[in-house]
Every structure is written in C-alpha cells, then in structure tokens.
Amino acid sequence: MNIQRTTKQLLTRLLWTGVMGFIAFTMIIPFLWMLSASMKISADVIKLPIKWVPDYFYPDNYQVVWNLAGKGNRNYHFALSYWNSLRITTINVLGSLITSSLAGYAFAKIKFRGSNTLFLLYLATMMIPTQVTLIPKFVMFSHLELIGTIYPMILPGIFSVMGTFLMRQAFVQIHEELRESALIDGAREFIIFRRIMLPLVQSSLASLAMVIFLNNWNNYMDALIFLPNWRLYTIPVALTNFFDESTVTYNLVMAASASALLPVFIVFIAGQKFFVKGLVAGAVKG
C-alpha cells in the first residue's frame, strides 16, 4: 500500500511537472521563434505553415546585421551600439555603486545633523515617476549643449535614489559595535567604510549592480530622447531604427533582436541568484 501511494505521488508530480513545463515552454516560444526566424532566408520567414526548424540554415543573417555599419542612409551601426550600451551601462553601474554605498552608509551609520530630513527628501523623490523629470532634463541638457554626447545618459545615471535606499537598508543591518570598536581604535570613518563595512554588504552590492545593469542595458525612453544620432545609439534605439527601416527583412530584424537578447540571457543565467534577489529588493521601489 505504501508503494502504491508513493507511485501515485510520483505520477502526480510527473503530471504536474509536465503541465507546468509545457506552460513554461509556451512562454519561451516567442524567443524560439525569433531564433528560428533569424536563421532563415527572408522568404522563408513569412512562409506558411511555419517551419520551426528551417529547411535551410542561414546564419549569415547575423554577419549581415553586424556588418551593416551606417552605410548609405542606414542609421545604425550594431557593433558601435553594442559598445555604447556597454560603456554607458558600465559607467552607470560603477558610478551608482560608489555614490549609493557612500550615501547609504552615511544615512545608516553616521548620525549627522539633518540626515533624517535629507533621507525623507530622498524617499519623496522616489515617488516621482521618471516621466516627470524627463522634460526638464531634456531642456537642461539641450541648454548645456550636451545633447549629442553620452553625458545625458550617464550624468543622471551614476546616481540612484533607489540604490541609496537599498544600500542604507543593507548597512542598517550591520551591528553598531563593529563600527564603534573600530572608531575607538582610532580608525578613520572612510577606512571603516572601505575595509570593514563594504565587504559585509557584498551581496547587496551585487544585487544592486544587477538591477542597475538591467535598467541601463534596457533603457529605451532616455536613449530615444537624449541620443540624437546613430553614432551614439544604444542597442534598444539601434534595434528600433533597424526595425523601422527593414520592412521586409524580418530575418535580419530577428537576428538583430537575438544579438541583443542572448548576452543578457547568458549574464542572467550566470548570475541568477543575485538577479532575483536584486529584483525582489529593487521592487520595493516599483
């Protein structure tokens, strides 16, 4: 009877695994379809019924996408856009980690006058949606003649109110004695921060880095408004332009999309622990 019961349990588990596995599989069908279409010749993409595995594999699409370098009136350069996305994202991730951890530490540990008021002000700005500040930032950067450089992406990008908030939460959880005993030993505040405190919040830093990476890598609206020419385009904007101009070459569009997505999938799967933790924590902001 015991065996019967375990067999039954095993079967239900298998059944549910099958059902949920199937649902998960249908959810990644758009990506599979993208991969399949990116490997087809143009005419085969719109052929019905859909052939999920193309008769004829045509990986040259990827080569074409990467080599279309601002030729003629084409307004994109995929390799250059990759570089732009990479440098903007890297600068912003590093910058926000530094500014957020410094400020988060001060808010959490140093009892300076006005810290509560300032922190409340920070919390209040978190409630204002980015769309509100978009127009003033555009006006400001055009006035400073910075539209046409990457500064409109990185000057605001190296600061993160949400990051400051998250880092403050991380530092608050560290015991006070640790800092006090170091202070008594005569250590300078910055040394304590750098040598003792930062190593203790490593996982929060990693999670924050993941969230900021993702936000910047996928940032579309800012790039659309602040980056006016193809030499500065990040991947999302390059992809948009490519899509707008390539009305028939769907295979190329799909190859471009796949080129934009695959690196992130790989980074995500490699660092999924931090990603998920960071997204759950970052969601506090919403």
């Binding site: 990644i28 859909i50 400020a103 300076f112 769309q131 000057l155 999309s257």
Partner: protein, 295 residues
Amino acid sequence: MVFSKQLRKDLTGYAFILPNMLGVLLFFILPIIFSLVISFTDWDFTWGIGNWNWVRLENYFQIWKDQWFVRSFINTVVLSIASVTFIILFAIVFATIIDAQCYGSIAIRLAMFMPKISNIVAVSIIWVMMYSPWGPVTQLLKTLGITNPPKFLGSYTWALPAIIFMMIWSGIGYAVMIYSAALQGLPAEVYEAAKIDGAGPIRCFFTLTIHFLSPTTFFLIVTTLISMFQLFAPIQLMTKGGPGSSTSVMVYYIYTSAFSFYKMGYASAMSWILFLLLFLVTLFQWNYQKRWVNY
C-alpha cells in the same frame, strides 16, 4: 582647530553623501521643481527658455477636454488593471503548483522569467511579428479552426487586448518568482495540521495559501500597477497609439506632446497627473495594507 564631536560627525556625514546629494539635487530635485513650474505655463520648447506665459491651472483643466488624453488615460487604467488581474491570478496558481509538485522548479521559473529580463524593444518587435498574419499567433488560431483571425495590432477592437496579452505574458514570471520566495516562508505545521484534518490540496490552497500570501499579493498588485501605469516602449514600437487612439497610453501621449510637438508645459501637466495616479496607488497601499492583509 578643534572640532566638536558632533561637528566632526556632520562633516564626515556630508562628505559621504556630497557626491550623491549633488547628483540628486541636479538631476532629480531641480527637474522636479522645473517640471512643476512649467506645468503652469503654455511653454513651447521652440520659443526658448523663459519665453512662456503663465496660464496657472489652465493646462490641468485643458487636458480633460482633450479627447486624446482622456482616451489615453482610460486605456492606461484599463490596460493596467486587466494585466495586473491576470498576472496575479496565473502567477499565484503557477507558483503554488511549481513549488509543491514540480521537478526542475528552478528551470521552469527561469523560463517564465525570461521576458522580464529581455530588452523591451526586442520583445516588442518579436510580438509585432508574432501577431502578424504569418506569425505563430494567427497560425495557431487558424489551426484551431478560426478561419478569419483578427489583424491584432491593426484592429481597433483587438489591438489593446493584444498588448494586454503580451504584458501578461511578460509579467507572470516576475510575479511567480516573488510568490515562490514567499512560499518558502509558509508555516509547514499549519499545512500538516490541515492535512491531518483531511483537507485536500485544493482546500489548502483556497483557505491557507491565498490567506498566507496576501501580503505578497498586495505588494505585487501595487508594484505591477505602478509599472503598468508607466508603460511606454511597447506602445511606441508596436502601435504608435493606434489604430486611432485605441492603444494610446498616458506616457506615450506625454512623449509625443513633448518631443514631437514640443508642448512642454502641457506635457508636464500631464506628467503630474500621472504622478497623482501613482500617488493614489501608494496612498492606498499605506492606508489599506493593514486592513487588507492577513498576516
């Protein structure tokens, strides 16, 4: 020079937050103030900075007479509420089943999570193709015997539901992740006791799991709603608010007013209406959390 202890603390504190404070001041607080100021003007960007007329609250009254804005506002609310409802319903069921009954739960959750980490531009482009007459969605409907499937994104009736469907698809994985994290913390003894009392898994789900997950559900409703209110990229890429105004949403209309028509004052006023909408959700969260949530 001898500093008092408190003064030294102040100086260190401000030294630590100085870079951050400057950035927040310049790129968050000043823009917020500027936005509020120009929302009371009729400023057109092409007139140059300072060349504006004060119109007081005129913009805030005018937008409600603007058919496009009203339609965008309604669409935003409909789209947000519809997607959030379905995301929550699917996610709570999926997460519970995956947690209790599935092998390879990490792999299943990761697969569902893929849309969330994908570039929204790439995702939107893929879905334009998915919905096209030769795309898989149309194909599937034809296979199911629907001879004349709608042209989703080109149809006045079907464009908004098509976008909602896509947003549900892209939002489920995140909600499943959050629910799964919450499910780890459920009290096992209560389930043991329920089992001894003869409650089946379905009974347990409705009386225990939903009850215990209510804080998470509340959190997810609020955060997902806030992010849906700010939807932009899919609309801009897939439909440009069309056909007609059938899929126009607030942020898209703010964007076109500001950056296609340069009506900065008008657009700023709309962005403050968006803020008020988000603020309402947040207020609701603060006030009703205790009443709604069963701990």
